[in-house]
């Protein structure tokens, strides 16, 4: 396991202790040794972008050689979840339907990282179209958890979490629609952040559920996550849903003490089904915050029990609309011999191109939006979503941040939940409410089980108040040392 930080890489390159090229080669060496079948077969990468990475590394090395000031991510090896497009690298979204697609442009998040000096190593495995909680829905095969190779890394950003945990990348990009950054971060023992809805541009993100999808970073520590956010955040003319609210000083905020902050502890998140070892670890983290001068306050988020059904109506409805663009006409895979009609070609392409879970969600979503059912399902779900959001707004009138579990259990074994989609959906019980409310959240490591599996704790913050969330996360991290 590598514990290299963004600052260590940048400083080592600036002081000429190493070069960006050597750092990139070292990480590619680790990937070659352990990501494939010859090593641990973690399978976090779906494609490597070595040419682009080494060109960028050479550019950083030339700057360092001339003694120029280096940008904040100079030479930092970064991986990109394969739902974000990168010019010249295949984009699959973990699906067969995009097999062979070479996108002609870069996602804004990708562009921003590279402009800040990051070396883009390649594209990371994920559940098909980011639909899943274990990475077992990838059409290209599962990812193994580097901390326990018989277990899942979580999902859908399983490759992004595993790559950081395995030391293949110093930081990665993931996406989170209902927990897809925070849950795998917890399973793999790394930091994962869900920025506020609108904080990071989604231009170049292959859409799953547009009112929920967000782009965010994985890192080994809270400070690196803050650095990544400072690069990613901000208005983008190419994404009308990106916010023009001023970007905070996320790294500077880490210097502020947490003394006096009010921390909400929601009773609904500590009920039945929570693993006792996780409960104990989170209570310990809360004790640590108290010792650091925070004031703990029990709060209630009364509509929490409706979050999962609400989420699975809204997310599937939006997915059924978004995924209609995959029809064998403009990109990726087209089925057929050329002798069938257009509608036969659509049907055949989608039948052969999509996997079982994606089809299930398209069907569910189409049903929820269909005439006669729209009011009962989609409209009702949107109304409940407002109630869930109001729960958080009321809580944040009293407290500065909320601390809760992020997963009910530690990482489970491969295959343990693949037969029962409802069991898999229940994985999201502590994550989907923040997704629906649009607030920011993050998962921070807070110990391990007796069996050595990582445990994560969730910190949630007000809309666009990543600074306070990061301060609390840092205090939890400091309490672990």
């Amino acid at each position: 396991m590598s514990t290299t930080t963004i600052q260590e890489v940048r400083n080592a390159i600036a002081s000429k202790a190493t070069t960006a090229t050597a750092v990139a080669e070292e990480h590619y060496g680790r990937i070659a040794a352990d990501d494939g079948a010859g090593g641990k077969n973690i399978h976090s990468f779906l494609a490597l972008s070595k040419e682009r990475a080494l060109a960028q590394a050479a550019k950083i090395d030339a700057m360092a050689a001339k003694g120029e000031a280096l940008p904040v991510l100079a030479g930092v090896p970064v991986g990109i979840k394969d739902v974000l497009v990168m010019q010249g690298s295949p984009a699959t979204a973990g699906s067969k339907i995009l097999e062979g697609y070479l996108p002609p442009y870069d996602a804004t998040a990708v562009k921003r990282l590279e402009a800040a000096g990051a070396v883009l190593l390649g594209k990371l495995n994920c559940d098909e179209f980011a639909m899943g909680s274990s990475n077992e829905n990838s059409a290209y095969g599962p990812v193994l958890n580097p901390r326990a190779l018989d277990r899942v890394p979580g999902g859908s950003s399983g490759g992004s979490a595993a790559a950081v945990a395995a030391g293949f990348a110093v930081a990665t990009l993931g996406t989170d629609t209902g927990g897809s950054i925070r849950q795998p971060a917890a399973f793999c023992g790394v930091v994962g952040m869900l920025p506020t809805y609108g904080r990071v541009s989604r231009y170049g993100l292959i859409a799953f559920a547009s009112s929920l999808d967000r782009v965010g970073p994985f890192a080994t520590n809270v400070r690196d996550a803050a650095i990544m956010l400072s690069v990613l955040a901000g208005k983008d003319v190419m994404d009308a849903t990106s916010s023009d609210r001023p970007v905070g000083d996320y790294v500077g905020a880490l210097e502020k003490p947490v003394r006096g902050l009010k921390i909400g502890v929601p009773t609904e998140y500590f009920g039945e089904g929570l693993d006792p070892e996780i409960r104990a670890a989170i209570e310990k983290a809360l004790d640590g915050l108290k010792a650091a001068g925070c004031e703990l306050q029990t709060i209630s988020l009364p509509h929490t029990k409706y979050a999962i059904p609400t989420y699975y109506v809204i997310a599937t409805a939006e997915a059924s609309a978004n995924l209609s663009r995959f029809d064998g006409v403009r990109f990726g895979f087209r089925a057929g011999t050329g002798t069938e009609t257009l509608s036969e070609m659509y049907r055949e392409t989608r039948d052969r191109g999509f996997g079982a879970e994606v089809k299930r969600r398209i069907l569910l979503g189409t049903y929820a939006l269909s005439a006669g059912y729209y009011d009962a399902y989609y409209r009702k779900a949107q109304q409940v979503r407002t109630l869930l959001t109001r729960d958080f707004l009321a809580a944040f009138a009293e407290v500065d941040a909320i601390v809760s579990p992020i997963t009910p259990t530690p990482a489970f074994k491969l295959g343990a939940k693949t037969d029962d989609p409802v069991q898999m959906y229940l994985e999201d019980i502590y994550s989907v409410a923040a997704s629906l409310a649009g607030i920011c959240g993050m998962s921070v490591p807070c110990g391990e089980t007796r069996a050595g599996l990582p445990i994560g704790v969730q910190v949630m913050g007000r809309h666009f108040d990543e600074e306070t969330m990061l301060r609390v996360a840092l205090a939890i991290e400091a309490g672990q040392a």
Binding site: P103, D244, G328, V329, R330, G332, T341, L342
Partner: protein, 53 residues
């Protein structure tokens, strides 16, 4: 032809604070987009026969 900005200019309360200029901006290169399609003549996406008997 009237521009969107001019049309809304008469009703300033409808002018969103961040309404962008109604100007042509560069878009993706057509050849690059077409190159990613399963079937194309370089100008258009080609699809199988639409009308069924």
């Amino acid at each position: 032809m009237a521009q969107v900005g001019e049309m809304l200019g008469a009703e300033p309360e409808l002018m969103g604070a961040s309404l962008r200029a109604d100007a042509v901006r560069p878009s993706l290169d057509r050849a690059a987009v077409m190159a990613a399609a399963p079937e194309t003549d370089g100008r258009f996406f080609k699809v199988p026969k639409v009308i069924e008997r």
